[in-house]
């Protein structure tokens, strides 16, 4: 027999803190007594109802996030018991974390790599790639030398084009399951994002 598509996960139901009845894992509400449930251990992708993939539509991520926050945000529980308020806060906290991670291509890539056991941030080896280091230094120099808004703009638009290309590359890296390449591209995108941030700040100051 061949198994196709998504395997139904073998998870034991949790006991509802309120009515003690069974609650399927990752269900935010008890099916019996409707009490809000703690967020549990789900990863960011499954929390927002996605498969683990780099190719996500940000509009869809946002829509799912808003939909869930509408139901789970502490504002919906302001007049409820302290226990329900605490549980909803935990849910909203997990949703925010998932949203922030999945919305940003860089953080999404780093998180996907982390789920595969590959650390990209703070592993002390980020400058081991001489080509990348050289490119980063050149970009920094270009920004430092930019004196007029137009010059800064040109650095920004260059970096943006590169960041878009790096994001497209990441999509290919993950599609072909080349995690080493994905790690390299992720580091490159880290530099580019930082440069764009700095350039944007500088753009406002020279304006």
């Amino acid at each position: 027999m061949r198994l196709r598509g998504v395997l139904p996960r073998l998870t034991t139901p949790n006991a509802c803190w309120s009515c003690r009845g069974p609650v399927p894992a990752a269900e935010p509400f008890c099916p019996t007594c409707k009490a809000v449930q703690p967020p549990g251990q789900a990863d960011h992708f499954s929390r927002l109802g996605f498969a683990r993939t780099f190719d996500l539509d940000p509009k869809l991520v946002e829509r799912r996030y808003f939909e869930l926050q509408r139901k789970l945000h502490p504002d919906r529980f302001a007049t409820r018991s302290p226990k329900e308020r605490a549980v909803s806060q935990a849910q909203a906290t997990s949703l925010n974390e998932a949203y922030e991670t999945l919305m940003d291509p860089l953080r999404r890539a780093a998180y996907l790599l982390k789920l595969s056991g590959i650390e990209t941030i703070g592993d002390g080896k980020t400058v081991a790639d001489p080509a990348l280091l050289m490119e980063a230094m050149e970009m920094r120099e270009a920004l430092a030398e930019a004196r007029t808004p137009a010059e800064v703009d040109s650095v920004v638009s260059g970096a943006r084009r590169d960041a878009e290309a790096a994001t497209a590359q990441l999509s290919r890296d993950f599609a072909s399951e080349d995690l080493e390449a994905a790690k390299k591209t992720t580091l490159r995108l880290t530099y580019l994002d930082k440069l764009i941030d700095d350039a944007r700040a500088r753009r406002l100051n020279v304006a």
Partner: protein, 639 residues
């Protein structure tokens, strides 16, 4: 149809008591406070009898007790030393901050003891929390007056840029005033809510909020009922007050060059500031004017033109624009992506401010909703949403990064500013000495890299770390920020599971004992209030009983037995006397006595009425009557 329907006192339904709890929105401002309420998404400012919606955030401590609002303001002339205004600037502040503000606040401060600053008014040493609680009590009373019923729940707004200590101080003040805070909402977010729902706006908007003492700029995305803050920034001590000070100092410098040095009392300073404020307000619609300054009984007139005013306030206006720049950059946006800019706060009436905002954003700013009232209106909408349910969703962010002190007085950031809240972040730290048994955790808030330049929120010691070599212990520090922007920190050593949890309170907050004492005092008042309420309730009940009896006697006095009339009359007089007094137990007992003695009379009247009702009818007629008591209710039997 029972004649004497006697309630147990305390159970009398007060008007509307059965309704959903009433929740108001309160803008606790530096200069003015406003209270509003919303029903069916239509918010409305609750005004006083004269139609004023703004309650001046001024408190005067008189012999007869605290006075708030314009009555307090009026005392600046006669008893300036008893008057406190702009207390919001001191919320969550400590001795060090006050030094920075020294001279800008014309009242005596006692910062000697460390911790939260105290205001010295006569014999009193007051915390900003207590003074703010007086203002909140006054707006609460105004709302109750207007609505004719008690208000116990509120959404209170705070400047987006308020740090943890100032937020906590605000919440404590509300608690002291007898208000349950449903949520602290950031002022620009509240304003956006009022605009967004009013104008069905969509897209990215900036909210520029310049009040009396605080400046906030928030950038929000509005989409289908979601109000998502993308970035926020500001300055918790920059506002219209600074404009007033600049004008006053300018005039005093003029006088000095004319009349030489003069000592200035705190009362004279307050009056000069008042005059400066009047000048600033006058110059929003005029180009120039002459304004009085009176020191030591001698009044001088000072000319101020619009151009001069613009020059005097320019440094502060520039500062707000620099902050706008930073926040646009933090939101990762270009100016062209911002669809509109909304003006909030009384200080945005100053033409120079409007001009600067318009120039920077390249758009004509929106100010359709009164900038003094828009925040309270938004707060009221949120109060309604929290109590009655709503489709709108406010997603706010942390205004200032949170971190802890590491070696060498440096800050390790744990939660970055502009992270959506609620948020929880954890970080692991380790010991730096062999056998180190305890670790000091110093929590700070701010953007700078050294502890000295950030704000100290709390310190606590994680003790009982088992002896290990340096670097072996795993201490996990978790920061949890709730939807009010308030922080809870916990720390645990992972190999042993030793856990410590602290509510971030200490550095500039009230101590536990102080808060407990203040709450106890306000609860004592609460008990007094409750007593009074019960007394009134008992009186009303007693009067109602007397009235009912009178009607019954008027109709059916002929049914009284011999001697019964005397007994009832005696009990009636007993109750009438009890109502005159202040003893609610006596009233209660008198009501009961009258009820007992009149019961046979009431029963006879009932019997007769039933008999009269039955006469001429067959028993079958009553069988199908769901309200009748002759046949069992089939529905009731089932259940």
């Amino acid at each position: 149809m029972t004649l004497l329907q006697l309630h147990e006192p305390g159970e009398t339904p007060l008007p509307h008591e059965g309704d959903q709890a009433l929740a108001v929105g309160i803008d606790l401002g530096t200069t003015n406070s406003v209270v509003a309420i919303s029903a069916h998404s239509k918010p409305e400012v609750l005004r006083d009898a004269d139609g004023n919606g703004l309650v001046p955030s001024v408190v005067a401590y008189t012999d007869a007790g605290p006075v708030v609002g314009s009555a307090a303001q009026a005392r600046i002339v006669d008893a300036p030393e008893t008057v406190i205004f702009s207390v919001k600037r001191l919320m969550g502040r400590g001795a060090a901050d006050v030094k920075a503000l020294a001279g800008t606040l014309p009242y005596k401060l006692d910062a000697a003891q460390g911790g939260m600053v105290r205001l010295l008014i006569g014999e009193k040493r007051l915390t900003p929390v207590e003074v703010s609680a007086e203002i909140l009590r006054a707006v609460k009373a105004q709302a109750e007056q207007h609505l004719g019923r008690e208000v116990t729940k509120a959404v209170v707004t705070v400047p987006a840029y308020f740090d943890d200590a100032a937020r906590l101080a605000t919440k404590d003040a509300a608690k002291l005033a007898g208000l349950e805070v449903l949520r602290l909402v950031n002022e620009p977010t509240a304003a956006a809510l009022a605009y967004g729902l009013d104008q069905a706006a969509e897209g990215i908007y900036a909210v520029y909020d310049l009040g009396g003492g605080t400046f906030d700029i928030s950038i929000l995305r509005l989409e289908k009922g979601v109000f998502q803050v993308l970035a926020t920034g500001g300055d918790a001590s920059l506002g219209g007050d600074d404009f007033d000070h600049a004008i006053a100092e300018h005039w005093l410098a003029d006088r000095k060059s004319e009349l030489g040095s003069e000592p200035i009392t705190s009362g004279e300073a307050k009056q000069t500031l008042k005059s400066a404020r009047a000048a600033k307000e006058a110059l929003t619609s005029r180009d120039a004017g002459d304004f009085p300054v009176m020191l030591r009984g001698k009044t001088t007139l000072h000319r101020l033109t619009r151009a001069e005013l613009d020059r005097l306030i320019q440094p502060w206006v520039d500062k707000t624009i620099a902050i706008c720049r930073q926040v646009v950059s933090d939101a990762r946006l270009d100016l062209s992506e911002i669809q509109g800019v909304v003006l909030v706060g009384g200080s945005t009436r100053v033409p120079q401010v409007r001009r600067a905002v318009e120039t920077f954003f390249g758009k004509t700013p929106l100010s359709d909703i009164d900038p003094d009232e828009v925040v309270a209106l938004g707060a009221a909408l949120q109060a309604e949403a929290l109590t009655s349910g709503s489709e709108t969703l406010l997603l706010d962010v942390l205004p200032l990064s949170l971190g802890i002190e590491t070696m060498g007085g440096l800050v390790e950031k744990i939660v970055d500013r502009n992270t959506p809240i609620p948020v929880a972040k954890a970080q692991e730290f380790t010991t730096y000495q062999d056998g180190q048994a305890a670790m000091l955790v110093h929590v700070v808030q701010g953007e700078r890299e050294t502890v000295a330049e950030c704000r100290s929120l709390a310190r606590f010691v994680l003790a009982g770390i088992p002896p290990m070599t340096a670097g072996a212990a795993r201490i996990r520090v978790t920061f949890q920020v709730d939807a009010d922007g308030l922080l809870t920190v916990s720390a645990s050593e992972k190999t042993t599971g030793i856990e410590q949890r602290v509510e971030v309170k200490p550095s500039y907050g009230l101590s536990e004992e102080e808060m407990a004492r203040m709450l106890e005092e306000s609860l004592e008042h609460g008990r007094e209030d409750m007593e009074r309420r019960l007394l009134i309730e008992n009186r009303v009940e007693g009067q109602r009983v007397l009235l009912a009896l009178r009607s019954a006697l008027a109709a059916d006095a002929s049914m009284l037995d011999a001697g019964e009339a005397d007994r009832i009359e005696k009990a009636r007089q007993g109750l009438a006397r009890a109502i005159e007094g202040d003893d609610r137990d006596r009233i209660k007992a008198a009501v009961e006595a009258l009820e007992d003695v009149a019961r046979p009379f009431a029963e006879r009247r009932m019997d007769r009425a039933i008999r009269a009702g039955l006469a001429g009818h067959s028993i079958d007629e009553f069988k199908g009557d769901p309200g009748g008591c002759l046949a069992p209710d089939p529905e009731e039997e089932k259940s």
